[in-house]
Amino acid sequence: MLYLIEQCLNGIQLGMLLFLLAAGLTLIFGIMDLVNLAHGSLYMLGAYFAATFAAVTDSFLAGLGLALLATLVAGMALEVIAIRPLYGRDHLDHVLGTFGLLLFFNELVRLIWGPAGLTLSLPPEMLSAVQVLPGVYYPLYRLVIILATLTVALLLYALVMRTRIGMLIRAGASNREMVGALGVNIKLLYTLVFGLGAALAGLAGMLQAPLSFVQIGMGENILILAFVVIIIGGIGSIRGAFVAAILVGIIDTIGRAFLPDLIRHFVSYSAGSSAGPALSSMLIYTLMAAVLVFRPEGLFPAARR
């Protein structure tokens, strides 16, 4: 039972990170109609920046802060230099072009930081566990991730729903030409939105870094999951991304935790060890396939263009 609660919390935490990635992806896709395969590269950059700055400043938080800034700038620069020419083209061109960027970033990282990867360690204060329920202890840092991301989610919601910029973003999503005609600088708006998406991705990468690793190509596997999230949630919908991210995070984590045992119990031991992890990965994709067949606009489709 305790294990179940812990795994649920882990699932939510994974969901939070997925949300950060998916939110940026769905904003960019919904507003600029751009499919960005290099989004995982920004996730990777965030982690690398954080590890580097944390080592240089000897402070975890300073490292995160600087890395966030750096990723924001990198994202905006990328938009101006390489992404702009892609607007308006068909999705295949986006996929191909941003795939080229993905290859580029992998090599760039290898050039700058070497092939071995980095580590980002938590400050000692974050290493303890906290009692969330009577008798249930959960790592503080993971709780921090959940709370931090929730805060970001609320800020994002406030930004998109309550500010002038947010209104422009929503308006731009439904009618690009109109907003341009109103004299709003669409180019700047797009750069800012892309930068925001990049920062969110980078944040996910750096939050994740102390839990696992910082290495080349780290964005590639989670990027797929993020795309699955926005398909399930509905392209262009932040609310959808949030719900779908939690859903996917929990299903994936619970699946990995319990499916092998279930299979071992009911089928055979070896089947559980080998088929378990594979099947739990498959759960998510099966869910996506089901959504695509029965409700292709997603669970919370954004307003129609």
Binding site: H91, L92, G97, F99, L102, F104, E107, M288
Partner: protein
């Protein structure tokens, strides 16, 4: 169907000539590595040609095509491990398994379009990738060595590098010819029409879904064959071969060479892998050029190398 001596046709002829003469050159200079390199090029060219059937001509961008290299390869590898070394059993099974998987994936994926299609093909490929990682008996994440190449009685000895190379080359040329005929047949017209304007195709009376599905299966089968060849070439098979970024490599080959023709992907495979060899000899970080180069090709030379030669992008 007359052949004209245009720059593009001349180039194609030159490339074929080069491919045919590689082993001769290698013998003369004692450079056996070249044969190995070009065997790999030829095999991946078959995979790229199969992808282009559905991508360039059918407009179905599959980001999970490398999965068939894996399915074909694992068919050979698994059978070899279980003691079945006959190519006459392994290769048809590799192709059949690929056909079945393509049928299943296609049946579901072809109900979507655009970026959804791309994502769902990618997702299915990742599923197989994870399944392969879970196959402890067959190497799991580390992969599995294949100790004996496919046996064909006394007909042909695949462990002979030269023989194997010419077999692969023959299969490549045969594949190109078959796909060429396919693309210009009635069937091919339906596929191309569906790429151009599917709404119109249905309005004039074509049940496009079944044709697209069949083309998807053909492409999978051909790539499965390439997978069987690849497993024999490397004497090794691992899940990494099926990662979605490997599918990306195949797409790069097709786009770089030219999506508009059947032979384009062959040019792309040769160009990409030769470039890889040459540049990696110069600097370790050559790939840093590849990314932006590819972006530039997508932006300004959409028809790839073949498009540049022909001046106009048409099938």
């Amino acid at each position: 169907m007359t052949a004209r001596l245009s720059p593009r046709n001349a180039f194609v002829a030159v490339v074929i000539a080069i491919l045919a003469l590689v082993p001769v050159y290698a013998e003369a200079t004692g450079n056996t590595f070249m044969v190995s390199l070009f065997t790999r090029i030829v095999i991946l060219a078959i995979a790229a040609v199969s992808l282009n059937l559905i991508m360039g001509f059918g407009g179905m961008v599959s980001f999970g095509h490398a999965v068939y290299l894996g399915i074909g390869g694992y068919a050979v590898g698994i059978l070899a491990k279980e003691g079945i070394n006959s190519g006459l059993l392994q290769w048809p099974l590799a192709v059949a398994a690929s056909a079945l998987f393509a049928l299943a994936v296609g049946a579901l994926s072809l109900r979507t379009r655009g970026v959804y299609f791309i994502m769902i093909t990618l997702a299915f490929a990742q599923m197989v990738y994870y399944v392969a990682i879970g196959l402890d008996r067959y190497g799991g994440d580390d992969g599995m060595t294949i100790y004996k190449r496919s046996q064909f009685g006394g007909l042909i000895d695949l462990s002979n590098k030269m023989t194997f190379y010419y077999l692969c080359l023959a299969l490549l040329l045969a594949s190109v010819y078959v796909v060429w005929r396919l693309v210009h047949s009635r069937f091919g017209m339906v596929i191309q029409g569906a790429r151009s304007n599917e709404r119109r195709m249905r309005a004039i009376g074509f049940p496009t879904y079944r044709y697209k599905l069949l083309s998807f299966v053909f492409a999978g089968m051909l790539c499965g064959l390439a997978g069987a060849l690849l497993a024999n070439h490397t004497d090794f098979i691992s899940p990494a071969l099926m990662h979605w970024t490997r599918s990306g490599d195949l797409i790069v080959m097709a786009v770089l060479g030219g999506m508009g023709t059947v032979f384009g992907p062959v040019i792309g495979a040769v160009a990409l892998l030769v470039l890889e060899e040459v540049l990696s000899g110069i600097t370790e970080y050559w790939q840093i050029i590849l990314g932006p180069l590819f972006l530039l090709v997508v932006l300004f030379a959409r028809g790839g190398i073949d498009g540049l030669l022909a001046g106009v992008r048409r099938g």
